[in-house]
């Protein structure tokens, strides 16, 4: 009898340990709005390494993330939009966190910023559309983050702004048509900007201020008031960037001039056909 009791206790203990280990190994997947109605509730009830999948719909929320979770949409930014519930706060505030992933969302309507990283590291922000906020993506004292393939357009101030943030990678982002600057690095060093587009911004395309040892490679900076501005910044590496001046006025004039030339050529051709002078 004793060996049987011992065996049962051993099996229970083993099952409990295995179950606990299993719980740690397999992070939960939380679906919004099926498991939780809004994203903040899902974040509050998640554990580190969990994934929150945001399904089709328009959400009104201000989300605070302080643990390493993944928030992504099920079908890309065309279907899942998050608008600031309180416009004076960011839509996503990532504070003192590491390893956060935000992907595939439309983020809009904040009078501060779409995504705000504060003292956060190793975060990945990718494939989002961040439009019509005060600023698109703000990084403050945040290092080793990757911001890639985001569309950051039509924001009131900056598209992407880094302050006191080092060793970050910005690649494949579109920071166009913002009402001040496309990409702004302030007091930020050792960052890598590659294959970004910073065009049609009202003031600067890309500006580096008091930022050292940054690398800009194959960026497209077209038709801003000032394309690329490097001020009080040392050891900046520039490789194959394309910078075009603002040709709002020049290009239509050139096209009209081509039209006039084309008119005379066409007139000559038609005069051969119709035998007129």
């Amino acid at each position: 009898m004793l060996p049987l009791k011992f065996s049962a206790a051993f099996i229970c203990a083993a099952a409990l340990i295995t179950g606990m280990a299993g719980a740690n190994l397999h992070a939960a997947v939380i679906h919004v709005p099926y498991n939780y109605k809004n994203i903040q509730d899902a974040v509050s009830n998640s554990q580190p390494a969990d994934t929150i999948i945001v399904h089709k719909g328009d959400y009104k929320d201000n989300i605070i993330v302080e643990k390493s979770i993944t928030i992504r949409s099920s079908e890309g930014f065309d279907t899942a939009a998050v608008k600031a519930l309180n416009p004076s706060n960011p839509v996503f505030r990532i504070s003192n966190a590491s390893g956060v992933i935000i992907s595939g969302l439309t983020i809009t309507g904040s009078g501060m910023s779409g995504i705000y990283l504060q003292n956060s590291h190793n975060t990945a922000i990718s494939d989002n559309r961040i439009v019509k906020n005060e600023s698109g993506i703000l990084l403050y004292s945040s290092n080793n983050n990757t911001i890639s393939n985001n569309i950051v357009k039509s924001n009131e101030q900056y598209g992407i702004y880094l302050e006191s943030s080092n060793n970050n990678t910005l690649k494949g982002n579109t920071a166009d048509s913002n009402k001040d600057k496309g990409i702004f690095l302030s007091l930020s060093n050792h960052n890598n900007l590659a294959n970004n587009s910073a065009s049609l911004n009202t003031w600067n395309g890309i500006i580096l201020w008091a930022s050292h040892n940054n690398t800009l490679k194959e960026n497209s900076i077209l038709r801003n008031t000032y394309g690329l501005v490097i001020s009080d910044s040392e050891e900046t590496t520039l490789i194959d960037n394309t910078v075009w001046s603002n040709i709002y006025i020049i290009l239509p004039a050139i096209l009209v001039y081509i039209g006039i030339i084309f008119f005379f050529i066409q007139k000559r051709i038609f005069s051969f056909i119709y035998s007129e002078k």
Partner: protein, 118 residues
């Protein structure tokens, strides 16, 4: 650099070129009546009209869904084109043709400013 050679930019640029040729041939056709200038003006006008329709479709397709104001804008432009064609075909309204032609040229300039790089 590649951005400047996207298909929509090339099409819009061609549109302004043909609108310019159409304007000049139209002014010449009014100045001295001749079948050659009238033919030139008609050809350039129809090409510009075709490009206008292509640009409208591309613009509405690339935008975020079918929005009311862009549709109203493009339809207004199309109505000006139709009005221009009808006015030059009618003897009583012929005199308004050149004004509508200049208006169409201005519409093309607006299109260039709005849609040169979308």
């Amino acid at each position: 650099m590649n951005m400047m050679f996207e298909i929509n930019i090339i099409i819009v640029s061609l549109g302004l070129i043909f609108a310019t040729v159409s304007l000049f041939s139209g002014l010449q056709a009014v100045k001295k009546a001749g079948i050659m200038m009238a033919s030139m003006h008609r050809l350039n006008g129809y090409i510009a009209c075709l490009i206008y329709l292509i640009v409208a479709v591309l613009s509405l397709k690339e935008g975020s869904g079918l929005m009311m104001w862009p549709i109203i804008g493009w339809i207004t432009g199309l109505l000006v084109i139709i009005g221009k064609i009808l006015s030059v075909r009618n003897e009583r309204t012929y005199k308004y043709g050149s004004r509508l032609g200049i208006l169409l040229f201005i519409i093309w300039l607006i299109i260039i400013y709005k849609h040169l790089i979308a």
